[in-house]
């Protein structure tokens, strides 16, 4: 009995060898298919890697960023299309929360809650988080949405089919379908300005310098200084989107 077990016939050798070779071949084919791993792998960026910082303590809710964005990027004026907008959060004494953003904050804010009921109130500017594992890029069926080497999420509007899957996938509501073009539109971090060495429009116009951006890979950059000196947080960290929009003084109520 024992002898039989240890005996390896030529046939056994070949079948085991073939199985092994086949296994290696199949694995190497599958290795090329990394679609499943999109959100499971953290990108390892070299070179410029843009991040954004917003200091909620500095935002006065003037709404100039939202307006500048619409003007700079030809965003439709109707109040249903925004690449950048400002929300006013009001936490009442009874703990309830009122959030408002009339026309994205472009026309300024009026407090609807009487002063005596207010526990605290603050403004939260919103824009694309330029996620490193962006759910919108993940789901685009044709690859019209992509992340650049610098970590900016862009859309190729000549390629977008307008299926709206990315709009559903964005947890932050940063995308809309352009009513005239039929394709998706979103913040580009003013890519056209960046390439000329200019700041994005909303950063340029902010009167209180509440918005900061820069290279996360550069230890001396403004954004790294900001991150080092403030307790910063991203919105919805539980979704693990690799968000690169960091807020200082972010309340947990903000979603």
């Amino acid at each position: 009995m024992k002898k039989e077990k240890t005996k390896l016939s030529r046939r056994d050798f070949f079948s085991a060898g073939t199985a092994l070779a086949g296994g290696v071949a199949i694995t190497s084919v599958l290795a090329g298919y990394d679609g499943l791993l999109f959100a499971a792998v953290t990108p390892n960026a070299k070179g410029i890697w843009y991040g954004i910082g917003i200091d909620i303590n500095k935002c006065i809710g003037c709404g100039k960023c939202a307006n500048a964005c619409k003007l700079e990027n030809n965003v439709p004026q109707a109040p249903f299309y925004f690449r950048s907008w400002v929300e006013q959060y009001t936490i009442k004494n009874d703990g309830s929360i009122v959030v408002e953003s009339p026309n994205g904050g472009i026309d300024g804010f009026k407090q609807s809650v009487p002063d005596k009921d207010i526990f605290k109130s603050f403004f939260v500017p919103k824009m694309c988080n330029h996620c490193a594992k962006s759910p919108c890029t993940q789901v685009c069926p044709v690859g019209a949405t992509f992340e650049t080497e610098e970590g900016i999420v862009l859309v190729d509007e000549k390629y977008c089919i307008g299926c709206r899957y990315c709009v559903q996938a964005c947890p932050y509501g940063c995308r809309y379908i352009h009513p005239d073009k039929g394709t998706v539109d979103k913040c580009t971090l003013c890519f056209h300005r960046l390439k000329k060495g200019l700041k994005p429009a909303c950063f340029e116009i902010c009167p209180t310098k509440a918005r900061i951006f820069g290279d996360l890979n550069d230890p001396g950059s403004e954004i790294n200084y900001f991150l080092k000196n403030h307790n910063c947080m991203v919105i919805k960290p539980n979704l693990n989107t690799g968000s690169k929009l960091f807020y200082n003084a972010l309340n947990p109520e903000v979603r």
Binding site: Y33, D34, G35, L36, F38, A78, P79, F80, Y81, F82, W85, E87, I97, V98, V99, E100, S101, G104, K126, P135, T137, Q138, V139, C140, P141, V142, G143, Y159, C160, I161, G162, C163, R164, Y165, V167, Q168, A169, C170, P171, Y172, G173, C174, R175, Y176, I177, P179, D180, K181, G182, T183, V184, N238, L239, R255
Partner: protein, 403 residues
Amino acid sequence: MEQHLQDLYEVLSKVDGYVYPNEIELNWSILIVLYPYITGLVAGAFILASLERIFKIRILKPTYGIALLTAFSFMLVATMPLVSHLGKPLRAYEIMITPHSSSAMAIFGFVYLWYLMVVLFLEIWFDYRRDMVIWAGETTGFKRFMYRLLSLWTTDISPKSVALDNRIGYIVTVIGVPSAFLLHGYVGFIFGSIKANPWWSTVLMPVIFLFSAMVSGIALVMGIYIILSKIRRQVIDMNCLDTIARYLFYILIIDFTLEGLDQIHRIYVAEESFEALHKLVFGQLFFTLFIVQGFFGTILPLLTLGTFQFYKPRAEIRKVIYLVLSVLILIGIFFMRWNVVIGGQLFSKSFYGYTSYKVGMIGAEGYLMAAIWLIVPFLILSFLLWLLPPWKKIETDHGNLEE
């Protein structure tokens, strides 16, 4: 365009709480409700056909051909609501040419083509080839031409070639069952994989979609069989009908359990989104979820079919009840898709508010358009039943294939 903006201003005036400004527009309309609905009917009808063929449940023989042709008719239309909903419909082919490997939607084109061309088309072709050759000899004109064309001018109907047809058809069906599971499970994954949306994002979604698909497909074939027999003035095979109803009962139990499990889990873990979803379910979705999908589409059919397992009224009454149940279930599953697709977009991802949705009558996204996409498959089916009547086929016992 102007009308679109006007509608959006109307929605804006009805917003309850706070929604992100870009969320006021509801992105996936009634057409995207139809897409999983129609695909589900295809998968369900096919699985019913496979019961007869693979699992040799011969009592289902009278519905085998009907189920196959029904699946095929609906499959031909399945992509239409999707494509017509695109912002750039003429670019739809890009999904096939440059699919993005990490996108669940990108795989759709391939799963669809695989299922339509390789599974359904081949199965029907091998099943009908001999009959088409015979019919080509018996008919004239257009029909004769169609039979010749469809059978690719083959004439060999020797027992050997027919046996080969059957064998290939059987293999195709064996491949077809996992394919049907893949087709509809995958549709569920499109929704289930969106982590941004807590109403969709559940690992159960593909399984729920699959079983609700089987429920709707079986109910559809049952209804069509009853109506078709009435039109053809044929006696309904009550054994067959009772068997279909029994399978419908079993699968409805599984479907109900899965959906119940999903809701129980949501309530028990009560995550961050719970309050927002709770208000949604008891607010805008109350009628479509509890009344239509829950009571008329699930509980009532379950109780009735359950009762029939112990006590059977006479055939005449049973027939009518089966027909009514099939319609109720079809409506129920339609609203199940509605509750998923539309329901998932009514609340803001900030969980602070709700938008609203009203279906218009006209336009590409209106309910007339949706109705057209539901009627067209029946027209195709009528044509197919005229061209390839399953009841005129020479009886083949699929059971004789095994050796």
